[in-house]
Symmetry: C2
Subunit: 660 residues, 2 copies
């Protein structure tokens, strides 16, 4: 399928002041990443300014210079941009920094900000800035809402023009590592680690290398059995360890510089160390030892819980499982293992508390996992700009270390002084022409990368950058789309599940309202609504989850009075007649937010429709269609949720609006 | 897969009195069906009595004679059995009667009843006694719970030993017509009517013919487009009519004596006459005209409703749709069209009122459709002997004609003096070794056929026959299994949805409890439960459905006081505090029946376990495993339903039992 250029389309801009920097480039370094930087600058110059950039013999003759300088303490991925006397200089400690600096300059011209006087020094916030693709080798994508895979098709690995375009998009926002296959590794995907797909992976890695991106794979923990024909995958079995060592030696011989592996083990039916009564540390370490000689890393997911829970059981709490499973083995992991922790203790709901593993774990490398694939937030048919949510997560105080206790501090390495940390997002791309199904969902891809590289950016700044790069700088377009993006997450939260309780979706597909969909199921995802109230008691009288937090968070969550209201039903069972700080009863809050959420959608529809003629027609129509669906579907959410609670509580809406 | 012989296994019996009739057979008729009868008698004699039956030169020399006699008014399928002086004579008007008479004698020896003095005269109750197989051409079976198809596999038609065994089983209980493919006709199944599968169908038809069974197919109404390349399937388009005529001419040339077609049109997304603004009569008649020259028949299903309903809409009622669609065209159908009407207005729920089309339609041929595939009644993992339900349906008084107003009167032809009528069952077979997954589900296959042939039989009599034929005549085995069978449907009803409201199952799979599973969906299947009560108002103040019945049924259903309580929630919204005739409140009735239903299952488990050693081990273990599942799963039903209603009503169980 053909593909568009998303935020790298480089539309024409008439700006002579900025144009003048793009005539002659000087770049003594001949590294392939530096070459990509020059190519990108040339491409932007040509498309934006119709200007054919030429090489300059030396810096004096250049209008733009790309210079490596180890003295500037820019690390391997930082950069410095200075402008003086009509000349632009990008300085870095390594080629990747030059690439990021170049993209920064390009963004600046896309945003029509003057390069004159531009001074910028950036070191990436997160050492690891990863995308996790849940692409299957048959071409399907688990939780994919943008078509099928562009990495795999019919049991084959695809390497083509789209691979390069993908690498450019990812690198342009600072992504430096990608996992191309689904964490649920089955069938032929298990063979990605042996020679079967060796040549294709070599070609793919070459393209990614050009853009400073490390190739990672998801790995099947049972591979020693499935590929090696062994009768066990016990990580403590020396033969298993030996098999892994041999396998990794072969792999790294084929793919020198390969990044490493992402592993989902003992989760939702996947094999893992628990099968052999081994700890996750033992499971991760056998792999870590095997890749260590080659500088490889093991990203080990903490998404481990009992998915065979009895709904009648009110003491077992899925929210507690991550902490319960991993806290006892804090410090037991090799240095080249990084635990990848979902932002919340459940599963990418529209609202969750931050996982208590952040702040809990003190001797283990950590990476935050978020999901830009909108599995539970509208599946890229609803607008839902997630960067504000990620900002909240990053800014959360764990109280683990004075002055360096936020999630951001932890995953950027500030708290525990490590570089084996970072942030990963479950990707939202597919082979749809516009990459992300919903055109506005591209803001999450762009935004995740930008945020990972520069966590000082606000959600608003990122939104504005993305709009400029994608739709240009018309002020009406800017303001209206920014407004849409920023109102979208709150709106989605309003018309779906209230106050942190989550779920209420159709099982399996995770789309559309179904209040009791998971209520009597085995997944540990309950709301416990009855005639009098709703919510899960996670205090010491309930599941005891709140105590997994450090103080003062634990006490704050423990008490109804101090619990943040947006999480009230996550932590407490609350009567419908309880008065919130707004003065409204809980039930009235539910009704009101659901009506409001739909009104917000109507406003988004109006905002978008008013942009007709100012947005390329194809994109305009695509978004318009999805908004029409969102309009209908948000009403379905509103009516089902309101009706459910009205029928259960029999408390009428104070405003007498229609509830069925 | 290998297969067992079900109720035709002919286990050894030591009974010299009965054995003596099986030495010499006289049968002058050489028709293939008569030959099957003789073969079956010989097979039974050999296996049961170890007795090699020989041909006799004349009737005097015979111990058993099969004689055709047109003077006895036995029609084409009736028979008369007389015993005198140690000789047995089976008389019939046509070979099929001889076959049914032979099977009657065999059953009698299987039941160890004396042949001495045996006198029986039977004419089949229903002219058409059909099985509808929902088998797909890829080998899957829609709503199949006994493995995959033995008619189709991987786009091929299968004809093998199992085909013959199937024909023997079906004929042994009186089945005289089978539709081998799913009513949802898609892909290659559409080509079953052209020459593609001509030879296989010819072979299959030969086998079925041997046992007096007519071969029918389901047909794709859009075949003129899909096969004929036409741009319409409009039944009133002369070219379409011409295409059908030509197609049928070809088919009947290949398959002389072919029965005809079963058609699902305009239902659940299937194409039909509505596409062209034509009536169902116009749709059926174009096909009827095409098959008429060859004596073919069109069975037209009345399962037509709006499956895109808005759950908010409380006036539209799926229950009304069959009547609304077909009553206006009563009398418009050709004589060789038979409308096939599901027993209830919804879809094979554990309890439904009888379809008001029965009694409503007065000038159209009618056939009752029941489902022995236990789609909504435990899917052949739960025991659910359905013959008592079918008896209730057949005995229902429609009040359409004095003295001949029951459903049985209508479908046996008594009411409207026709032979184009009968009863069809959606089949419950597959390629499982025991044919029906659950060994006890075979009682429904057996029982359906027996009942269709002889509607005077009671459910108890049929159960006892089946047990004797299958498990022998040990009195403990007899009594305990009969008890299990007869308690099974009431038990299933008790622990699932109460008082006729139906549904409350997981969508799509239709298995397992999910009270709100269909409540906010588009299928027209709601319970409307709120804090105060539950039920659908189908009176004149509600959807008006009750008025579709003839008096006095209409008035009886209209009023809460006179409505049969087992259907109370189907017709009325009832407060939980309403007192039933038992003196119990509705909510207490719900709790009590759900606890009772589970106790009934526990009793069934005990009854079965006590038979260990008396039942062949393989069958014993298979049933034991399924009962263990039923035990667990009935608890799941009990707990989810009780918890749902407790949480909604907040009315405590008077007995203080555990509700979650």
């Amino acid at each position: 399928m053909s593909f568009e250029n998303a935020w790298l389309q480089y539309s024409k801009i008439c700006n002579e002041e900025n144009k003048k920097y793009f005539f002659r480039v000087y770049a003594p370094d001949k590294n392939r990443v530096t070459t990509s930087a020059i190519q990108e600058l040339a491409c932007a110059a040509l498309k934006i300014f119709d200007c054919r950039m030429q090489p300059a013999a030396d810096q004096d003759a250049a209008t733009i210079s790309l210079v490596l300088d180890q003295e500037r303490n820019l690390g391997t991925e930082g950069y410095e941009i200075t402008e003086a006397d009509g000349k632009l200089q990008i300085t870095a400690g390594a080629p990747a920094g030059l690439l990021y600096g170049s993209f920064s300059c390009i963004r600046r011209i896309q945003c029509e900000k003057p390069l004159k006087g531009f001074q910028e020094r950036k070191l990436p916030s997160a050492p690891f800035r990863m995308l996790n693709h849940w692409d299957n080798i048959d071409g399907s994508i688990e939780r994919g809402y943008s078509g099928t895979s562009f990495f795999f098709q019919d049991q084959k690995v695809l390497v083509d023009d789209r691979t390069r375009m993908y690498a450019r998009l990812a690198a342009s926002v600072g992504i430096n590592a990608v996992v191309i296959n689904n964490v649920n590794v089955k069938g032929n995907a298990t063979k990605l680690i042996d020679g079967t797909y060796g040549e294709e992976l070599r070609l793919m890695k070459e393209i990614l290398d050009d853009y400073g991106i490390s190739l990672y794979l998801s790995l099947n923990f049972a591979a020693p059995m499935e590929l090696g024909g062994m009768d066990s995958a016990d990580p403590c079995d020396p033969e298993v360890a030996g098999w892994w060592k041999e396998k990794m030696k072969e792999l790294y011989t084929r793919l020198p510089g390969f990044g490493g592996f992402l592993v989902k083990a003992d989760s939702e039916g996947r094999p893992g160390p628990f099968t052999y009564r081994r700890t996750h540390a033992e499971g991760a370490n056998v792999l870590a030892d095997a890749v260590k000689p080659y500088g490889g890393r093991i990203i080990w997911r903490c998404f481990v819980y009992n998915c065979q829970q009895d709904w009648r059981d009110k003491k077992t709490d899925r929210a507690k499982s991550g902490y319960d499973n991993f806290m006892p083995i804090d410090g037991k992991f090799r240095e080249n293992v990084i635990l990848q922790i979902k932002n919340g203790p459940m599963d990418f709901q529209v609202r969750e508390p931050v996982s208590p593993l952040f702040g809990g774990l003190k001797k283990t490398n950590q990476m935050l996992e978020v999901q830009i694939a909108q599995e539970y937030t509208g599946q890229q048919r609803h607008v839902c700009y997630l960067i504000p949510m990620f900002k909240e997560v990053l800014n959360f105080h764990t109280y683990c270390k004075e002055g360096a206790d936020t999630v951001q501090d932890i995953v950027t390495g500030k708290t525990f002084k490590t570089t084996n940390c970072g942030i990963a997002a479950v990707a939202n791309t597919g082979d749809d022409e516009n990459w992300t199904g919903h055109d506005l969902a591209a803001a999450n891809f762009f935004g995740f990368g930008r945020l990972a590289y520069d966590m000082d950016l606000t959600a608003e700044e990122i939104a504005r950058e993305w709009i400029s790069c994608t739709f240009g700088n018309d002020s009406e377009v800017q303001e209206k789309i920014e407004k849409m993006l920023l109102m979208s997450w709150p709106a989605y939260e309003k018309y779906t599940s209230p106050l942190g309780i989550g779920w209420m979706v159709n099982p399996n597909v995770h789309y559309g309202p179904n209040v009791d969909g998971y209520e009597y199921d085995r997944w540990g995802t309950y709301h416990r609504a009855d005639h009098l109230g709703i919510g899960v008691d996670r205090t010491k009288d309930g599941t005891g989850y709140a105590a997994q937090y450090l103080e003062p968070n634990a006490s704050a969550y423990e008490s109804v009075e101090t619990c943040p209201e947006e999480l009230l039903l996550f932590f407490h069972y609350i009567p419908y007649t309880y008065r919130l700080k707004s003065g409204k009863t809980l039930i009235q809050h539910i009704y009101d937010t659901h009506f409001e959420g739909v009104e917000n959608v109507d406003e988004m529809v109006k905002l978008w429709n008013s942009l007709e003629g100012k947005i390329p027609e194809k994109a305009f129509t695509r978004v318009q269609k999805r908004l029409a669906h969102q309009k209908m579907h948000s009403r379905e959410w509103r009516d089902q949720i309101n009706t459910y609670f009205y029928r259960k509580s029999m408390i009428a809406d104070e405003q007498g609006r229609t509830i069925y």
